[in-house]
Amino acid sequence: MHRHLSLLLILLLPALLLGQEAARTNSIGMEFVLVPAGSFTMGKFAPVCAPAGTQDNVTEEQYQECVKQATAATRAGFKAEVPRPFYIAKYEVTQEQYQKVMGKNPSYHTQAIVGGPSEKYPVDSVTWQDAQDFIKKLNSMEKTKAYRLPTELEWEYAAFAGTDNDTQGTKAPAVAWFMSNSKYVTHPVGSLAPNGWGIHDMLGNVWEWVQDFYDYDTVPKGPKGPSKGTEHVLKGGGFQAHAKNVRVSVHAGGPGSVISTGFRVLMEAR
């Protein structure tokens, strides 16, 4: 019986995927990548203590106390599920795209700062509400309700790209513009290597707003953010971020540093 069911599923798979192309481009030239359904572990946190004697600043007693507190603070995380595939923008929203939709460009990193045309640079200096206004207008322009911000869960799932690698590799400079390689400015979207699912700049370049309210916790407690709040969650770190913040699991909250804050759009697969 089980074998028959599996066979049936394999035969039906192409049909199930029909209508969900691997990549799509919308009316303003935003490119999207299809993210498959699946699950991953979210909300892990594990502080690590420096052993006694490190840099002459840790006694054995302090190390033992640190381990005790670190063990108490450690969180195993929880299973986070993505029940349906979705499309996520291959790049952060660019200044050109923001201009097309909103008729203005609030960015700091314009020609005067980056020394050349800035259209392909990520839009920066946007609040969470600015991102919502952009999405509302984009939906209206295309007569759809498919566009929205990713949730933190969807964002992490797309950023992990099927791995459990928080930094997306020891070659972080090859996938992310951050403090060590950015020269303290943003860079054109997609100018570094993509992650395993073909998505660029999930880490670095600009912090990205996600849909969830911020819960004032070290990592998320569960798959859904709180139902109300005042600030929203920021992910991925910006061009000026220290490597410690350029990790998929970093759970930061607004308002953030204005000139390093942008966003990326999710399109529901229908």
Binding site: P47, Q55, E65, C66, Q240, K244, N245, S260
Partner: protein, 228 residues
């Protein structure tokens, strides 16, 4: 040479005694920015790489900052942004804890910084940067003799004068001038002139033991004189 050393010693003693006379009191002309009761006028950054949930609380009129949870420090920012100012504060850190005072900071803590790296082989009162390009101006910005001026396990006063969009920075530790530095350009992120003041506690991990469990930096008498 010996005479010079004697002169320095005498000057240092005079400096220290005048400092002890002043400690515990906000100097004239300064306006308090910490009320000794709560964190009104201040907020914790939720996007600093040192940590997003700094443990900042007021105990017995003192402002205490420490890690939360262990391993995660953070920064406490003024709500207000300042251009040119003199900042006065008193600080008593636990030995083994790295902190600092950030100037012209943004929300993430990209800022000019005064070190309060109170641990072995580190420095107090150096003027450096945090997440902005390294400094290349002129003058003294790394006090070589801070150990002679600092009073361990006691309250110490810091007075910081920062003036100009391309800032000139002077710092006094217990009334002894330790920094006299003229920057060569505005290093603040995004070229901002007005920025927040922040108090920092460093993060720790397996190779970065820059705080001790339950260690804090204590502050009191935090006050400012705006100069523009």
């Amino acid at each position: 040479m010996k005479r010079l050393s004697l002169l320095v010693a005498v000057l240092l003693t005079i400096g220290l005694s005048s400092a002890s006379a002043q400690i515990g009191k906000i100097p004239e002309g300064f306006t308090p920015i910490f009320n000794g009761k709560d964190l009104k006028g201040w907020h914790v950054s939720h996007s600093s790489h040192h940590g997003n949930l700094l443990n900042a609380r007021v105990v017995g009129g003192e402002l205490l900052i420490g890690q939360n949870p262990i391993g995660e420090g953070g920064i406490l920012l003024t709500d207000k942004r300042y251009k040119d100012f003199e900042l006065y504060l008193e600080v008593k850190p636990d030995w083994g804890c790295d902190g600092g005072i950030f100037l012209r900071s943004n929300e993430d803590g990209n800022a000019y910084q005064i070190t309060l790296d109170y641990m072995p082989k580190n420095s107090m009162g150096s003027f450096i940067t945090e997440g902005i390009p390294a400094l290349n101006g002129t003058g003294q910005r790394r006090p070589p003799d801070w150990q002679k001026i600092w009073k361990r396990d006691e309250w110490n006063s810091m007075r910081i004068r920062m003036v100009g969009e391309v800032p000139k920075v002077e710092i006094w530790m217990n009334d002894v001038q330790i920094v006299d530095y003229q920057d060569d350009k505005n290093h603040a992120l995004g070229g901002v002139y007005a920025g927040m003041i922040a108090l920092q506690i460093h993060y720790t991990n397996a190779t970065t033991p820059r705080a001790i469990p339950n260690g804090v930096h204590r502050y009191r008498n935090i006050a400012i004189k705006e100069l523009n």
